[in-house]
Each structure stands twice: as structure tokens, then as C-alpha cells.
């Protein structure tokens, strides 16, 4: 049982600023920076609390770092805390990405810069492939795991099925398997 820890010392303004900093620094993955800010720098949470919150935020749908901000904000300042943390996390990255895209539109079409985007795109695709490979390396070696992953891959990459359809079938099957295995392990 986890106790909700209300620490009135952490205000909505501090949540906003803390997560603003995480957003600005979060190149190539926000989570390590969120951990650094929350645990190492500001000591709002200890290691155990951070892991606890992460284990809440990760299995739920949605971008993981946003879910983390929602839960951390709520623990300190309720709904207003969640909104402060979320706004802080998103504000700077959205301004930066829109500026980048505008610059690309203006200067990236003609001249030598138009060659930049194809290279950038292939590298960005490689980052995603790498993420997949890392997940693959950490996966449990079990038949049901391999089967589910393969079916998900084929139905999306090859059959181009609607994700709603794919998840409506695969999510319950996966959770049933996960539940069964968890009970066996006890």
C-alpha cells in the first residue's frame, strides 16, 4: 500500500519550474532527466518513491513522461499540481519544436539545407529501430511473448490494420497471459 505523500513545501510554481527544466534538457528521452531533477537535484522524492511512481505511470497508455508528471504533480498539489507539472514539461519543447519546424520551412527548402532533412530522417528512423532492438533485448524469452510481439508487428507493419482493432484483440490476450503467469510465479 502506497501512502500519498503531500509535501506542502513543493508548490505549483516549483512543480512548473522543475518540469520546465526537465523539458528543456530532455533530449533523446525525458525520463533520465526527470529522475535527476526529482531525486538528485531537488530531492522531492527518494529513489523508492520515484520507482513507485514510475511503476504506476509506465503501464498506463500515453507518453510515459507526461504520465509521470501527472502523478508527481497530483501527489504534491492535487489536480492543480498535475496541471502545473504538465504545462511546465510541455511548454518549452512545443515552442522549440515549432520554431525548428518554421525554420525548416523557411530555410530548408532551397539551397544546401534542403539536403539536411533526408539525412536527419534516416538517422531518426534509426533511433526508433534502435529503441525496438533494445526492448527486444530486454524481453522475456517465452513463447507467448514472442507470439504477441510478432502478431502486433505484422498486423501494423505488414497488414496495416487499424490500431484500435489490433489493441482490442491483443491487449486483453496479453493481460490475461500476464495475469496467469504472475499467479503461477507466486
Amino acid at each position: 500500500m502506497e501512502e500519498p505523500f503531500r509535501n506542502p513545501a513543493v508548490s505549483c510554481g516549483e512543480l512548473f519550474l522543475g518540469f520546465l527544466l526537465v523539458g528543456v534538457r530532455g533530449f533523446g528521452g525525458v525520463m533520465p532527466w526527470a529522475r535527476r531533477m526529482l531525486v538528485d537535484e531537488r530531492r522531492w522524492l527518494d529513489d523508492r518513491q520515484f520507482t513507485q511512481i514510475l511503476s504506476l505511470a509506465q503501464p498506463l497508455p500515453g507518453p510515459n513522461s507526461l504520465n509521470l508528471a501527472v502523478v508527481v504533480g497530483d501527489r504534491f498539489q492535487g489536480l492543480r499540481g498535475s496541471l502545473s507539472a504538465l504545462t511546465g514539461l510541455l511548454l518549452a519543447p512545443i515552442c522549440i519544436v515549432l520554431t525548428l519546424a518554421t525554420l525548416f520551412d523557411r530555410f530548408g527548402q532551397a539551397g544546401p539545407l534542403h539536403r539536411l532533412l533526408p539525412g536527419l530522417s534516416s538517422a531518426a528512423a534509426g533511433l526508433m529501430v534502435g529503441m525496438g532492438l533494445r526492448l527486444l533485448a530486454g524481453m522475456e524469452r517465452e513463447a507467448w511473448v514472442c507470439a504477441l510481439a510478432l502478431i502486433a508487428f505484422l498486423s501494423v507493419a505488414w497488414l496495416r490494420l487499424s490500431l484500435v482493432l489490433v489493441l482490442l484483440v491483443l491487449a486483453p490476450v496479453g493481460i490475461a497471459f500476464g495475469h496467469g503467469r504472475a499467479r503461477e510465479a507466486k
Binding site: 533530449f27 500515453g62 526492448l135 497471459f177 500476464g178 495475469h179
Partner: protein
């Protein structure tokens, strides 16, 4: 092409938001399917270009949704799509996290985590596959993609360097669209 209404964009991303099992990377193929295959709002090359710009900026890995909105309907589009991508999943997390605190560590949480992990894996691999195809033009771009993928397996290497390297190879004319 008729430009989509803001309401339509919001609903599209709201649905994608609650389907993002294991994070934003899992739903990139669905975004591509909606935006490129079904509605022809942009080419797959333009889509992967937006993805690349999103990767090159700091922040949560859902900024591609802001960029799609921006491309479709300017700043209002960017805000509406970002909101659509954040709101449903955040509301769900907010409610479920409170519930879980009250009822304690439910075995369902663990079951969900273990059971959805393989699905996430399949979806992220599909994202990589789709983006590679969209970015690829000849053996050289595929070589770059493969090299970057292998280099990410080395811990501690900042992905920004890999993007910069890819951009440089493009500038030098080694990788073309």
C-alpha cells in the same frame, strides 16, 4: 486535399492518446496510417521529416503530434493536436493512479505491465520499420538507418550526435531523398 477541421484533428489524437500503450513511440505507425495512408494529408517522406524534427528537439516523445497539427492548421492545429494527445491519457492516469493508491498494489497492474510489454515491443518495431521505409531511398539511406540503430545500442551515446551525423551526411550529399 480538404484540410481537416480542428475537431476532427482533436478526436483523432484523443483516440491515439489512449492507444499509446508503453508510450508515444507505439502509436507512430497509427499516426502515419491516418495522416498518410487514409487521408493523404502528406506524403510518407514529409511525415518522417516531421518525425525527425520532433526527435531533434528536447521533450516528451509526442511532439510529432504537435507538428502534424501545425502542418495541417498552423498554431491552433498544433495546440489542438497536442491537447488531444495529452488530455485523455493524462486524465486516465490521474484517475487510475488515485484509485491504485487507494486499493494498493493490485495484481492487475503487474499483469498489465507484463502483458502489454510484448505488444509495445511489436508496435515499436513496426514504428522503426515504417519510418525506415519512409526515410529510405536507396542502399545508402538504409545503411545510415542501420548504423544509427546499432550505435544506439551503445549506452551513454547522446542521440543528438547521431542525428547531427545523419544531417551532416545529408548535407554532404551522401544521403538523398
Amino acid at each position: 486535399m480538404t484540410p481537416p477541421t480542428l475537431g476532427r484533428l482533436f478526436l483523432m489524437f484523443a483516440l491515439i492518446s489512449i492507444m499509446a500503450v508503453g508510450g508515444g513511440n507505439a502509436v507512430v505507425p497509427e499516426m502515419q496510417r491516418q495522416v498518410v495512408d487514409l487521408n493523404h494529408w502528406m506524403s510518407s517522406g514529409q511525415f518522417v521529416g516531421l518525425f525527425a524534427i520532433a526527435q531533434a528537439s528536447p521533450g516528451p516523445n509526442m511532439l510529432i503530434s504537435s507538428l502534424i497539427g501545425w502542418r495541417m492548421a498552423g498554431l491552433p492545429g498544433a495546440l489542438v493536436c497536442t491537447l488531444g494527445m495529452c488530455l485523455p491519457s493524462s486524465l486516465l492516469t490521474f484517475s487510475v493512479a488515485r484509485l491504485w493508491v487507494r486499493i494498493g498494489g493490485s495484481p492487475w497492474r503487474r499483469a498489465m505491465e507484463r502483458g502489454l510489454a510484448p505488444v509495445t515491443l511489436g508496435l515499436v518495431l513496426a514504428s522503426g520499420w515504417q519510418l525506415s521505409k519512409a526515410a529510405g531511398s536507396d542502399w545508402r539511406s538504409y545503411t545510415l538507418t542501420a548504423a544509427v540503430a546499432l550505435l544506439t545500442l551503445r549506452r551513454g551515446l547522446n542521440p543528438l550526435w547521431l542525428l547531427a551525423g545523419g544531417g551532416l551526411l545529408g548535407l554532404l550529399g551522401w544521403v538523398r531523398s
